[in-house]
């Protein structure tokens, strides 16, 4: 194959892939809302529910909760949460974990990737098994 032909083919592939990547990134970031917003996070632990109203500029739930001191810094950095509002869910001890709900439905991604909008409500429930 001539180098010129190869360059043309590679250019076409590159343009298509780049366009697809940019379009997909924009479509899936459409949910992100910038600016000041107020959200409600309800932490449910062993039957007791505690509401936290958070006023924030954060774009994702993890960041908003970190700014509100509801989660620890090292867990925020890793994205893996065992301690919410000072309460620990120990998987090794009793298969306990924190389940995040958005409008009553289990979230399909971690808190660090969960976009927030003004007026949103989240429930983080201590769950066994």
């Amino acid at each position: 194959m001539q180098p010129k032909k190869l360059i043309v083919i590679l250019s076409a592939i590159l343009v298509v892939l780049l366009a697809a990547a940019i379009i997909i990134t924009n479509v899936f970031s459409a949910d992100i809302q910038k600016g000041n917003k107020t959200i409600t996070v309800t932490v449910v632990y062993e039957g007791e529910a505690k509401d936290h109203k958070i006023n924030t500029n954060a774009e994702f739930l993890g960041q908003a909760m970190f700014e509100a001191n509801l989660i620890e810094e090292d867990e925020y950095k890793s994205g893996y949460y065992t301690i919410i509002d000072g309460k620990k869910a120990d998987w090794d001890k009793n298969e306990a974990w924190w389940c995040v709900f958005v409008d009553g439905q289990m979230a399909d991604c971690g808190m660090n990737d969960l976009p927030i909008k003004d007026g949103d409500s989240f429930e983080i429930k201590y769950t066994l098994g």
Partner: protein, 170 residues
Amino acid sequence: MKLNTPSVKLPTLRETIMLALFAAIMCVSKEVLAALPNIELVSFFIILLAHNLGAKALWSVYIFVAVQGALYPFGEWFISYLYVWALLVVVVLLVRRYAGTVVYTMLSTIFGLTFGTVCSIPSFFIGGFGYGVSWIIKGLPFDIVHSISNGIVCLLLFTPLDKTLKRFLK
């Protein structure tokens, strides 16, 4: 397009030195650039080696992968590492007869752009289709950065380092 048959000969002494040296350079460059997410020189060095040494570049690739496996905890990433860098070597072997700086710059850019998608293959088996797709989508902004940095590195460094490597291997 004629497939370049991988060499079955063992590397010469000079080639062995180069392969070991580049394996070390790849490991060190990864650590040095760790603070800059998705900017790496590993792909460039693999392209350079595969262009000059053919399939023997796989020696450096798997030394690099073994060192990474020793340094970092096992995870999905290790499974991807077992094939993604080797795939780059195979692609270079297919085009190296016709390729120069421009072709490798484009290849390197495409590799960066598709890196996340190619690495996500184990995710489909581990977490299912939805998990794999969300893995790809979340990684796309990083892949764009990766592709741009790969392209710039290759465009600037391929010609001078290729000349230097050829001189040493003569």
